[in-house]
């Protein structure tokens, strides 16, 4: 009896230790989250001032981030505008036309891989197919541009949108398809006017998530949009973006620039977190309305 009760004690102790370690692990995760957010808040709010939104980066420590914000907005807009139609259509093909086929399965599989492919390699890809050819058109002066940056971001947004569209369309009840087809509606009309509408809020969530993802991307922009210290609204120019300026300023020895970088980091983090919150709200509201 003594051995079995000591075995019992041993097992109980082991259980308590393991479960306490799991609590510790969760606390570690939460502490890091709190630490990162707290420092971004503290340093960022301390450096917030109005000129951040009105002055451009050419003034350095006395300047702001206005051109970077405008650049970010334009480059992200280009990226989303390219990725959304292609992504939704590709997702529709996966869900409606190729569900269960070999090609469909492999593309779904490869899309998941593209989803976590290194963004810097995608940046180099866009550098090769957009920046280099346009450089040869202009007699050798390297033509970094907002367009190239937008294409790079579109490549990163694309798999996110493909995946959510695919998943959301597959959630649409098949009775809807059967009812429409039995009325003699052609499949393209059924897809564009009924199915995509039924899955609309899910697809919007995907687009918002993709936007949240690309607005924090830095690496692919370094050699596509490159950066620009002056305000420009023309995507054919070099363009700066918020993450790229943060990268540049944080690596600079100047303390004043660090403060601006923190302020930019704060704005960026808030934007990204609000976006992911918004995407969740869109999704949860749609769930309620379906019930």
């Amino acid at each position: 009896m003594a051995t079995s009760s000591s075995l019992y004690t041993y097992r109980r102790i082991k259980n308590v230790i393991a479960l306490s370690l799991s609590v510790v692990a969760t606390l570690i995760g939460l502490i890091f989250l709190a630490w990162i957010l707290w420092e971004t808040l503290r340093q960022g709010i301390g450096a917030l001032r109005p000129q951040l939104f009105t002055k451009i980066t050419a003034y350095g420590e006395d300047g702001g981030l206005a051109n970077a914000m405008v650049g970010s907005f334009i480059v992200n807009l280009v990226g989303i505008l390219i990725a959304t139609p292609i992504g939704v259509l590709a997702g529709t093909w996966l869900a409606e036309y190729a569900n269960g086929t070999k090609l469909g399965e492999s593309i779904r599989f490869l899309n998941d891989i593209l989803l976590s492919a290194p963004s810097i390699v995608l940046g180099l890809f866009v550098y090769t197919i957009v920046v280099l050819p346009s450089t040869s058109l202009t007699n050798g002066s390297t033509t970094f541009s907002g367009w190239a940056g937008g294409v790079a971001l579109a490549l990163i947004a694309l798999p996110v949108i493909v995946r959510t569209s695919d998943e959301m369309l597959r959630l649409v009840p098949s009775t809807l398809r059967e009812a429409s087809l039995s009325l003699g509606i052609p499949q393209w009309k059924l897809t564009t006017q009924i199915l995509i509408r039924a899955a609309r809020s899910g697809i919007i969530t995907g687009v918002l998530l993709a936007l949240a993802r690309i607005s924090g991307e830095t690496a692919p922009l370094l050699f596509t949009a490159f950066g620009n210290n002056y305000m420009t609204f023309n995507p054919s120019d070099k363009m700066s973006s918020l993450p790229q300026v943060i990268y540049q300023y944080a690596n600079d020895p100047g303390e004043g620039l660090h403060a601006i970088a923190w302020a930019g980091a704060f704005v960026l983090t808030m934007f990204v977190l609000l976006l992911s919150l918004a995407s969740r709200l869109v999704l949860s509201r749609s769930k309620v309305s379906h019930d």
């Binding site: 393991a18 939460l30 420092e39 593209l114 090769t128």
Partner: protein, 339 residues
């Protein structure tokens, strides 16, 4: 618009004509969709092709020696991949060593230990970590974590474990184990391979733990309840029932995290120190493939540019294989579930 106009006109010759037109539109539409889907394929092939093509000079000049050479000298235009490849693999390896047990702990806590009302908020908080842009991790790592590491963690590691302590007296560990070399460093700053590994670990914890948590929930309740009925403790159920049942998907989740860690650029670039040197110590600065590209590409030309492209190709191939394994492993459980 066009479709509506067509529909009105078609009322006259009814039936046949209209069916033919619908079929034609359907065909065109499905080609359009298929074309968009094939673009995904084209992106992957294109990224591999473009970097291979861009790296052809480097591969041609250095041959297989490229992979094992630690040279990096823009002066004489000799480059080798060993330093960045080692940095990439080592930082990701450290990240996994830290992140896997922590993620398992988080997933265990969220699926078995935590009271139900606490699960959703804690899970969303952990997932918030995944939403923070990597540049923010980079800044936090550079300005907050690296100095903290240099002041509070690094001295302890170098003095008690490393072979280059401040007072010159080697500890027992440094004399008798390989840890001495691993933790020996006289570099005074916080940027190091270990720092990058820790920051990467924080970044991939939410990915691995959310996959683990998700697959833990697929374990049939019957299986767990049977084990509880036989008198198992929560830990025994998790370790001997839940984990073996979900093994392939858990490994898939870990590889997914590894894929992220390998390709991560910004966070690593900030805290790795960017030194093109091969040091046995993980407390010395190093370089990773992604950080080397981010730092040098815009100023590189000729053979150096080609070398960076070649490095990107290597990175892409390695991540592709890792992610392929990850997705395949994750699929195993889905098949088992009959999905």
């Amino acid at each position: 618009m066009q479709a509506n106009v067509g529909a009105v006109a078609a009322t006259v010759p009814q039936g046949e004509e209209r069916a033919r037109r619908d079929a034609r539109h359907d065909r065109l539409f499905s080609w359009l969709l298929k074309g968009c889907a094939l673009l995904v394929l084209a992106c992957l092939l294109g990224a591999a092709g473009a970097t291979l093509w861009g790296g052809r000079h480097a591969f041609g000049t250095f041959g297989w020696h490229f992979l094992v050479s630690s040279a990096w000298d823009p002066g004489s235009d000799t480059y080798g991949a060993l330093v960045p490849v080692y940095g990439t693999l080592m930082t990701s390896f450290i990240a996994l060593i830290i992140a896997v047990p922590v993620s398992f702990g988080v997933a265990l806590y969220l699926s078995e230990v935590a009271p139900p009302w606490l699960r959703t908020p804690v899970a969303s908080a952990i997932e918030l970590l995944a939403g923070i842009p990597s540049i923010i991790y980079g800044m936090w790592g550079l300005f907050i974590f690296a100095p903290f590491f240099a002041d509070h963690i690094k001295p302890w590691l170098t003095n008690y474990l490393g072979d280059k302590p401040d007072d010159g007296k080697l500890s027992w560990v440094a004399q008798h184990t390989f840890l001495g070399k691993l933790f020996g460093s006289d570099y005074p700053f916080g940027a190091s391979i270990l720092t990058a590994g820790i920051v990467l670990a924080v970044m991939i914890i939410p990915f691995i733990s959310s996959v683990m948590r998700e697959v833990f929930q697929t374990v049939p309740t019957r299986l767990k309840e049977s084990a509880y009925a036989l008198g198992s403790s929560t830990w025994e159920v998790s370790w001997d029932i839940v984990l073996p049942y979900t093994r392939s998907a858990v490994i898939g989740g870990i590889f997914l995290g590894l894929g992220r860690a390998l390709g991560e650029t910004m966070a690593v670039t900030f805290v790795l120190g960017n030194a093109m040197q091969l040091s046995p110590s993980i407390l010395d600065p190093g370089a990773s493939i992604a950080s080397t590209i981010a730092n040098q590409f815009s100023e590189a030309a000729g053979l150096q540019k080609s070398t960076l492209m070649a490095l990107a190709f290597l990175l892409f191939v390695v991540t592709f294989i890792v992610l392929l394994i990850a997705r395949w492993m994750l699929r195993q459980l889905a098949h088992k579930e009959g999905r």
